[in-house]
Amino acid sequence: MSYELLAPEIAVAALGLLVLAIGLLLPAHSRKAVGYLAVLGLAAVLVLVIANFNREAVFFAGVYQVDKYTNFFRILFLSAALLIFMMSSRYNHLFGERQGEWFSFMLFATLGMMIMVAAGDLITVYVGLELMTISFYVLSAYLFDDRLSAEAGLKYLIIGALSSAVLLFGMSLVYASSATTVFTEISGALGSGPEQPALLAGIVMLIAGLGFKISAVPFHMWTPDIYQGAPTPVTAYLSVASKAAAFSVLVRLFLSAFPGLSFDWHLVLAVLAALTIVIGNLTALPQTNVKRMLAYSSIAQAGYILVGLVAANSYGLKGLLFYALLYVFSNVGAFAVVTAVEVEEGDAELESFSGLSRRAPMLAAVLTICMLSLAGIPPLAGFAGKFYLFAGAIQAGYLWLAFIGLLMSMISVYYYLNVAKAMYIGASRREERLLVPTSVSTALWICLLGTVFLGVYPGPLSGLTELAIAIFSIG
């Protein structure tokens, strides 16, 4: 077995420990070095994954699978973490002496996600998920002096634990029906014919447990409070990467473990997706805090991504992967601007964004473009992603879902444009220019160019997603 293909996971684990140790050893004034170390280390791992993109291996009889699908999501998680490290360089000062541990927890969360996507059996999924979730419990409460942050951490702990319990119970029921935890063996063991009620209950609980992580309606209640209370870079990471990780598990689980069920889980997911899109968008409309608005909008975005799994055909899955990646650029770009404003103004209320186009034209332009991409306005990446997703849905016969999705995404333009309106014609409380450090503006440029490039020329990424989904046998 080619164990060197596990190097990315090992390297991230080692980097996490190293950052933790150095953060404790270095004197307080030179802790900045920890950030550089984390960024350089992650960049090196990213290069390693890209270099080995085409190499595949199965470890431990199907328990751990390194394939192109895994590599695609590894790239996604690593780039998201890198962008967030870069964009949070000023925000980190709020953490005081605990910067080192912050990087370390972020790295462990990344490691958890990488394990989740590669997991080929239920227990491994659970291990990865817990590693990620426990790191996030700590990260959400990382602003010690902030009441909202503490509340967010506690809420996430309680609700996260509950959802983990539901997920585990579901796994045990699936195990009871199939006598195995390895995905590929589950589908063989279940055979054909009507399913036992226990198995159905298990599948529903798996959907519910993972539904918490992707914040699908009706499991979304925790999202707004936690997204608003957690430190903004953590919120950004939570919204793009932890969702993508849960989606990567959902896709692998349903397509390799339950492909031939007579139980129509597509329809169940379709209803969830529709509810998620509608409720996410409608509750985002009246928000006056941009961070909270982005939290609701991220619920809606999860609904769009779920459409890809509902369709479960070539266009749908390509769309799912495409959207998950463009979501990294667009959403991290948006959160990077929110972070920069929050550092300067102290909050993320809509008034703080007033007149931003005069104080920092770059920030205003990036936020506008990223939000329009999330709304699916061409020629930005979000449009290409939605085109794939809904082409898949219509091909699979879910025309009504495409209607709901596209109509609601046009309605979402309303709340995104409200922010643009404040930035472009609002009067600002202060006049002086808003300073953007180099690392933040680099992250902004990457997000901006990524969003525009993927929208104008989606060809290369769609080729990549096609390679990644080749492991599934779909029509």
């Binding site: 070539s314 266009y315 390509k318 329009l372 306005i377 061409p378 020629p379 449009f383 290409a384 085109f387 794939y388 809904f390 082409a391 219509i394 091909q395 025309l399 495409a402 209607f403 596209l406 109509l407 995404s409 046009m410 309605i411 333009v413 309303y414 444009l417 643009a420 309106k421 472009y424 014609i425 020329y457 989606p458 060809g459 769609s462 080729g463 096609e466």
Partner: protein, 502 residues
């Protein structure tokens, strides 16, 4: 020189201009204006070149460019023009060029204004030259956001606030486009199933024989999407408010060409790809068209704000275009395309004149004015030209369009056509009353300080007024071109009879 990508050049020049403006320092206002003027002039000259270079004897799509873009969706960056798109391409550039001069005196945030305006012009142009559905839709939606920003940043608040007007316009158009997008994706998926390979090329999809019920369903979606854009009754409410709130240049482009994307889409995509659906739904469209002509016309009688008058009148006139499209024959569709061109130059000229007057007097209320022809004779010429064209006076290009539509439509819908012709009378009433009230009568000394058009202000009058007269006196210059395009399209969809829905 034959393989020079002339359409791409015309399309990309304003975008390049916009990028250049973005990197210029905001203080260099005169160079910003110069960049805008030069890039739109270059596009105008290129599109004139395309007009003269187009071989009418050969017909069909010419100046074709095609680059594969997204393989698995069958998308290619494909451009081309025929007799239907060419007049509209020319119209876009005539109005785009004039719009730059009509907003020459913008003082605040000049950089943002011209960058967004150039993006808007490119977007509109792109929809007319794209021959790929994906690229078409891409350009179509690109225009929405610059318009929103232009309205809220540079618009004016009178009866409704500019924020309200901008948002109303944007949401209306986006919801229309959501239906359109569902229709396009369904068309693509179905086309792929029937063809066996993915394709977004309009020409390829036109060869596919879609099932009739499918055609009807998709055409209804398109009629809603494009109809909203064309301000089809009862989805027209955005249009008067939007124009009133928008700055002059946006009103010109919006009323002049953007609306015409709706009519163009109904012909190029609706009629060409879904002929059976188009014919089935046509009577319903014709009835809604009557709603446009009569209902909006009657509302117009009651308006006092100049922009609302032109806004409702443009809704009313779009009824003629819809009637022409709904009649599905060579003469009526020729008339519809001609009317789109004619109405475009006329409405743009009207809005340019209103813009100048408003900038000088800060009011648009008809009752506030009187005898302006004394102080502003050139402005009066522009108003008269636009107004007389609007009521379809022979000698103006609008007469040609309206007359052709009525001739073509009468054979199909006798009663509806007669009722629609009454729209001419309604138009005459409100236009003549407005022109008389604003321009003529005794000289009023409170307006003595107003400056007449001079220098660059004259450009919109000369360009657009010239187009109205040239098209009216020498109609064959444009009509032959349109005829070649429409003729070919009708041959392609084959014969058939209109009706079925009732």
């Amino acid at each position: 020189m034959s393989d020079f990508p002339i359409l791409s050049a015309a399309l990309l020049l304003p975008i390049l201009g916009a990028l250049l403006i973005m990197i210029l320092p905001p203080r260099q206002e005169s160079s910003i204006r110069a960049v805008a003027a030069v890039s739109t002039l270059a596009s105008l000259l290129l599109s004139l070149g395309v007009c003269f270079g187009y071989d009418q004897a050969k017909g069909g799509m010419q100046f074709v460019e095609s680059i594969p873009w997204v393989r698995d969706l069958g998308v290619s960056y494909a451009l081309g023009v025929d007799g239907i798109s060419l007049p509209l391409l020319l119209l876009t550039n005539l109005i785009g060029f004039s719009a730059v001069y009509a907003s020459w005196h913008t003082e605040e945030r000049v950089k943002e204004f011209f960058a967004l305006l150039l993006l808007l012009i490119s977007g509109v142009m792109g929809t007319f030259v794209a021959t790929d559905l994906f690229i078409f839709f891409l350009f179509y939606e690109v225009v929405v956001i610059p318009i929103y920003l232009l309205v809220i940043m540079f618009g004016s608040s009178k009866r409704v606030t500019k924020e309200y007007a901008g948002m109303k316009l944007t949401i209306y158009l986006l919801i229309g486009s959501a239906f359109l997008l569902v229709g396009l994706i369904a068309l693509f998926v179905k086309g792929q199933a029937l063809l066996g390979f993915p394709s977004m090329d309009i020409g390829t999809l036109a060869g596919v024989d879609f099932p009739v019920t499918f055609q009807i369903f998709i055409y209804c979606l398109m009629a809603f999407g494009f109809g909203t854009l064309l301000s089809m009754f009862p989805f027209h409410a955005w249009s008067p408010d939007g124009y009133a709130g928008a700055p002059t240049a946006v009103s010109m482009i919006h009323a002049g060409v953007l609306k015409k994307i709706g009519g163009y889409g109904l012909i190029r995509i609706g009629l060409l790809l879904l002929p059976a659906g188009a014919r089935y739904v046509a009577p319903l469209i014709a009835i809604l068209a009557l709603g446009n002509v009569v209902y909006a016309g009657i509302i117009c009688l009651n308006q006092r704000d100049l922009k609302y008058i032109v806004g409702y009148s443009s809704v009313s006139h779009m009824g003629y275009v819809l009637l022409g499209i709904a009649s599905v024959n060579l003469i009526s569709i020729n008339g519809a395309v001609m009317m789109m061109f004619a109405h475009g130059v006329m409405a743009a000229l009207f809005f340019a004149m209103i813009g100048h007057l408003y900038q000088q007097s800060h009011t648009r209320n008809v009752g506030d004015f009187g005898g302006l022809a004394h102080q502003m004779p050139r402005l009066a010429v522009g108003f008269m030209l636009a107004g007389l064209a609007s009521l379809g006076l022979p000698g103006t290009v609008n007469f040609i369009g309206e007359f052709t539509i009525f001739v073509g439509a009468f054979g199909v819908y006798n009663l509806l056509t007669i009722l629609a012709i009454s729209g001419i009378v309604i138009t005459a009433v409100y236009i003549l009353r407005t022109l008389g009230g604003v321009l003529f009568g005794p000289r009023r000394s409170e307006w003595d300080h107003l400056q007449d058009l001079r220098g660059v202000d004259l450009v919109p009058l000369l360009v657009l007024g010239g187009a109205i007269l040239v098209g009216g006196i020498l109609p064959f210059t444009i009509m032959d071109l349109i005829n070649s395009g429409v003729g070919q399209l009708l041959v392609q969809i084959g014969p058939g009879s209109v009706g079925g829905i009732f």
